[in-house]
Structures are given as structure tokens and as C-alpha cells.
Symmetry: D2
Subunit: 117 residues, 4 copies
């Protein structure tokens, strides 16, 4: 396991909560609330920007957004851990599903997924 491993992060976060005896606050219900609260802080950064502006954030803003992304990942990993879910496996599984569901040859250049649902 190296730096960019989800398992490494999971272990570090497990130890963090255990050492502080904070596990009892971390019910899946509560963690889902903490996660969406962080996701909203992200949304807040983008809400009055145009799409183009959101792609070219000034440096200070980008640093703040980076921290929100970290917070979301942290709660996501904690939640998956509490539920016994293998996050990386679940993501690979879902991507594989999407690869079958939206064959490149068929949907390329089209926005079907984005307009029909």
C-alpha cells in the first residue's frame, strides 16, 4: 500500500477515530449527513460562477476547494469502512457497469445520458 491507496487512508482514519474514541459518533446515518454537508461547501464555491469560471479558479479558491474535496473523501472512506464496503472494488464495479451501459461507439458525441434521464 502506498500514498494513493484507499486502504492506507482507511487505516489512518480508523486509527484517528480510535485514538480519540470518536467511533460512537460515526454511525452511518451521521456520517452521511457530515458527507453531504461537506459536499454542499463544495457546491457553495461554484454556485454563482459560470461553468467556465468554475474551470479556472484563482489559486486561493482552489486551495479551499481542495480542502473540501479532502473532507468529502475522508467521510466517504469512514462511511464505507463502517458499512464494511470495499470502496475501490465498488467503484470499479460501477464503472464496469457504465462501460456496458453506455458503449462508446453508440453514445459518442451524443448527450443522450444527459438529456434523457
Amino acid at each position: 500500500m502506498h500514498e494513493d491507496s484507499l486502504l492506507t487512508l482507511r487505516e489512518r482514519l480508523r486509527r484517528f477515530a480510535r485514538e480519540r474514541e470518536w467511533d460512537r459518533f460515526h454511525s452511518p446515518k451521521n456520517l452521511s449527513m457530515a458527507l453531504i454537508a461537506e459536499a454542499a461547501e463544495l457546491v457553495e464555491h461554484f454556485q454563482w460562477l459560470t461553468e467556465r469560471e468554475s474551470s479556472a479558479l484563482p489559486d486561493r479558491k482552489l486551495r479551499e476547494v481542495e480542502t473540501e474535496l479532502a473532507d468529502i473523501l475522508i467521510y466517504l472512506i469512514r462511511l464505507a469502512d463502517k458499512l464494511g464496503v470495499d470502496l475501490a472494488a465498488a467503484a470499479h464495479h460501477k464503472i464496469a457497469d457504465n462501460e456496458s451501459k453506455y458503449p462508446a461507439a453508440k453514445v459518442r458525441g451524443s448527450a443522450t445520458k444527459y438529456t434523457d434521464d
Copy 2:
């Protein structure tokens, strides 16, 4: 890079979007909306459950929750990629900050963080 690497997932998702020419939909603004919509589907699973029930989901429900977690991770990785953010590094950095901010010896057994803010 192996199965649980965030970089492996990032590369797979990059290829997925490129092959379908879907990158133009993936502005950070739009991705932040997609991310919070997935986070809300998670919240929806837990909203009428007690905390205890949220820790002991029936198998069918757990499979659904697993898929929501995957969706959140997918959009999170895409968003970080679009912004040029190294997600794992940002998370390790944030955890390090939290380790300093909440020293175990001082906060152990206390819920200060959770009640004061």
C-alpha cells in the same frame, strides 16, 4: 498502481469520458452538482432509520448503498481531476491537520468537537 489506487480509478474514468466525448459536460460546477445529488441518495437511505438501524442494513439495502458510495467516489475523482487536485495527497494533508488540531490526549472521550462547533 493496484486495484485500490485512486490514480488507477482516475485513469479509468478519464478514458471512459474521453471515449464518449463527455468531457464537455464535466465542468467543476456541474460535477459538484452531480456529486451532491449522489450524496443525497445516500442520505435518503438513512433518513428514517435510527442510528442503530443505519449500522445494520439488510443485505439488499447495503448493496444499494454500496452503489451510491461508488457514484460519489466516481464524481469526486472526476472533479479532482478536472481541477488538477491530487486527492490522496489532499486527504493525507487534511488528516495531518486534524491530528494536530485534535490531540488524542486532550480530546479523548470528549465530544468537544461535536458539541461546540
Copy 3:
């Protein structure tokens, strides 16, 4: 129209935006983001509380929650106005639907809605 009228609030908010020339920021897309960001601030107040604690907020906290509720209503009214939706009529219509869908005699004391979906 009196104090508790949605139309009175709508008119006051319309004037507020017009006088400041802020209408151009208020696309439905942007307003939906602002609304969910406010909803998340609400969630944040409750995320580490038990259900029981959430029903008995200390006064200072209650004042803060009250402001979040106001912010949500404000963005909701603006968004409905921008879309030409009659909010009160839509709500009465939806409640009527729910009254038919969940007849009291049938669902009373049961949590079917809350466990089955």
C-alpha cells in the same frame, strides 16, 4: 395578503433583487445550488446530535437554525418565481396527492412508507 403570505414574500424578494440588479445571477440552476447549500447548513447543525437532542435545541442554536430555515425559504421562493411556479398551489396539490396515496385508516400506526421505499 398579510405577513404569512408566500406572495408577499415573493414580491419583497423580487423588489430586493431588482433594486440591486442581481437577477442575472439568479438562474434556476444557480438558485438550486444556493438552496441546497443552505439546506446543508441546516443538516450540519443536526449531524452529531441524537434525534432527541435535535428536538430540544439550546436557544442560541435554535436562533441559528431559524436563520437557515429563512434562507432556504428565500431561495425556494426565488426559484419558484423564476420558473413561474405557484408554490402554495403546488404544495396543496402535493399534499392532496399524499392524502390519497396514504389513507389514514390504512397506514395509521404503521411505518410502511418509511421502511418499504
Copy 4:
């Protein structure tokens, strides 16, 4: 009290919950989750649209969005009721604050609020 009154809606919702004995599910914590889940369904409608498209929804889509707006208002009113908050008064109070904080003469035509915070 008439059709567009928040109190009328509050009374109708109170009766609805009482007749079904659903009040016990309606802790402020749970209601805040239900509210944000509905807000996210709204966001989902707009996430891949441009701002301009979000202002000109096709009729079928607009009907769906209208229902989401109703759902948000319903949970908002329930939550305020459970907390003993007068929603209309809180909104008028908050608008008055904003009127002082952002004097039209000073902020007109400027996007300060939207870029500085």
C-alpha cells in the same frame, strides 16, 4: 388565512401527520435529511443543463420540478413547526437584514456579494 398562507399549509400538514401517527418519525434531524434529499432531486434536474436551459424547461420537466419545490416546502414547514419557528417572520427578518447589509445604492450592478464571499 387563505390559500397562499404558510399557516394554512402548516395546519394541513400537522393534521396529515397526526391522522397517520407519523409524528414520531419527524424529528428535526430526520426532517433535515428529508429536506436535503428533496433539494438534491431539484439539483439533479439542473446538473447537466446550462444556466440558460435551466430558465426554459420543457413542460414535462417543469411539472417535475414543481413537485420537487412542493416537497421542499412541505418538509421546510414541518421542520419549522417541530422547532416552534415562525417561518414567515424568520424570512421577513432575514430579508430586512439583507436589505441593510446590501444597500441598493452601494451594490447595484456589482457582483461583490457573489465574488467576494
